[in-house]
């Protein structure tokens, strides 16, 4: 017997609304359908009505976990449009924050992966240590989550010697803890048993479906915008692109922990090379007509903003593509033929940031081969009705 189970939009595995509809056969998923749009806010339209400066704060609120990524991607694009050259010190601070954000995001993800696998102790430990980096970010920027440290032409806050010393101390602690998690993630048998060989995504699928970030790198697709298109100050620091070739969730864990260690390395280099001087230059109010494509390596993968100016103080068009959106086709590929128990893990493995992906998009991606004439709204109503009081067939045979 096969029947449909709705996952979401309100589901404990997902901290954000999205609806996955699984057709399952016993414990095995036979078909996947994703319905987005629950988190669609229409930010791109809104951006056309706000000024360049106001948009920093709007763009920052696309997503809470990678807020700095979106803001930085936007700001570096706007700086190119305005032909500004921000001072070196400002750039170092900006990208220091962006690496710290990567640390916070990956630690958060590790914890969430532990939680999805029912490993709550791991979740508690990683989140406890995440507070260290949250404290550092709060000290640098004044806020825990939306740092608001970017401004057009530089950053808004400077670092002093005491803060630098504190950041260094924090990094030492974090590095030690990350190595410990690397050890747990790769050795604790019940955890590894859950994540190894789950959610296989071969390299040719990665390429065909345009997956990005750690999801792609765990399948051996070694692309990192920081390395291949070194924006700002990334050509001055030395780091490696972390990859794995196991193509499964374990590989994604390994890639993320390796990236954590690389990020500590980058942060230390930033602190070592931090030049004296100003942190920002004054920015004009209007931008000349033109267009720019800004790319940025967010914790989840390549973040790309396409900005078009028309000579006024407002953008003509701001197109945001967040990494999670690029990973959805790959996710559906991974989910098919998996177990119900693996849904949260596989879905979490792309580090979904639904709010990022949905600033403007709605999609209904159908499973393979199934042509449905039912309107999505009907389907949804049916699924909801089922969720509330589904008359599940009593005489069903369970193929277990």
């Amino acid at each position: 017997m096969s029947f449909e189970i709705p996952i979401g939009p309100q589901h404990p595995a997902l901290k954000e609304p999205i609806s996955l509809r699984m057709t399952v056969e016993g414990e095995v998923i036979t078909d996947v359908d994703i319905r987005l749009g629950y988190n669609h806010r229409g930010m791109e339209k809104l951006a056309e009505e706000k000024s360049w400066l106001q948009n920093i704060y709007l763009v920052e609120r696309i997503c809470g976990i990678c807020s700095h990524s979106h803001a930085t991607c936007y700001v570096q694009g706007v700086e190119k449009l305005m032909e500004l050259a921000p001072p070196k010190r400002g750039m170092f601070i900006r990208y220091l924050v962006s690496e710290l954000e990567r640390v916070h995001s990956h630690l958060l993800w590790l914890g969430v992966a532990g939680h999805e696998a029912g490993f709550d102790s791991f979740f508690m430990y990683t989140w406890r240590d995440r507070e260290v980096v949250m404290d550092l970010l709060e000290m640098i920027s004044g806020n825990r989550v939306h740092y608001a440290i970017n401004t057009i032409g530089g950053v808004r806050r400077d670092l002093d010697a005491g803060q630098i010393a504190k950041i260094r101390e924090g990094l030492v602690v974090l590095r030690k803890r990350s190595e410990y998690y690397f050890h747990i993630g790769a050795n604790e048998p019940s955890f590894v048993g859950r994540i190894a060989g789950v959610g296989i995504l071969p390299l040719e699928k990665v390429i065909a479906l345009c997956a990005v970030g750690p999801t792609a790198r765990a399948s051996g697709w070694a692309r990192d915008v920081r390395k291949e298109d070194p924006y700002a100050v990334y050509d001055e620091v030395d780091f490696d692109v972390a990859t794995a070739d196991s193509c499964d969730v374990l590989g994604r864990v390994v890639v993320r922990v390796k990236e954590l260690l690389e990020s500590y390395k980058i942060c230390e280099q930033f602190l070592d090379k931090l030049p004296p001087g100003d942190i920002a230059v004054k920015a004009p109010r209007k931008a000349k007509p033109g267009e720019v494509v800004s790319r940025y390596e967010a914790p989840r993968g390549e973040n790309i903003h396409y900005i078009k100016a028309n000579g006024t103080d407002k953008p003509e068009r701001l197109k945001v593509r967040a990494p999670t959106l690029a990973n959805y086709p790959a996710t559906m590929e991974m989910l098919r033929k998996g177990f119900i128990a693996d849904i949260p893990l596989i879905f979490a493995a792309i580090d979904p940031c639904i709010c990022c992906a949905e600033r403007t998009v709605t999609l209904i991606a159908a499973g393979s081969g199934e042509e449905s004439v039912v309107r999505m709204s009907d389907l949804r109503r049916r699924a909801i009705a089922r969720h509330q009081n589904a008359p599940v067939k009593r005489n069903a045979v369970w193929p277990l």
Partner: protein, 157 residues
Amino acid sequence: MTDAELIEKLKVDLGDKVAEIAHPAPRRLFLKVAPRDLVAVTTSLRDAYGFVFLSTISGVDNGEAFEIVYHFSTPETDLNLRTEIPKAVPHVDSITPVIPGAILYERELQDMFGLVIDGIPDPRPLVLPDDWPAGNYPLRKDWKFERPQEVIPGGKS
């Protein structure tokens, strides 16, 4: 391959299919093609130049026409393929058969601009919320939104 070499090679290979090539910044190429050549150019870009990775597709409402930009990238460079579609006949060919990962972005275009993508493998209407009124395309410049009056709970309105 540097950007300059790539431009030369593209000019030779694609010939008159390329309407214009711009190179405003290092590692950023803008190519303009006619809508009818889109699929052919994409295919040859993928096969001969290794532009397998599509970052996204952006649509812009230019007033008289829709401008669609396909952002490709390789480890060496970024290539932005631009095409213009007249508003009167908003039809464009799908590149999903060439690059399967494009499906989401094309659906997004359908939804936000009211473009019709010919040959898209999954042609079901792509709406915003389920109760979204038909014929409204939020990212068109002539579409304006009136915010409904909010109620203040328990207070004066």
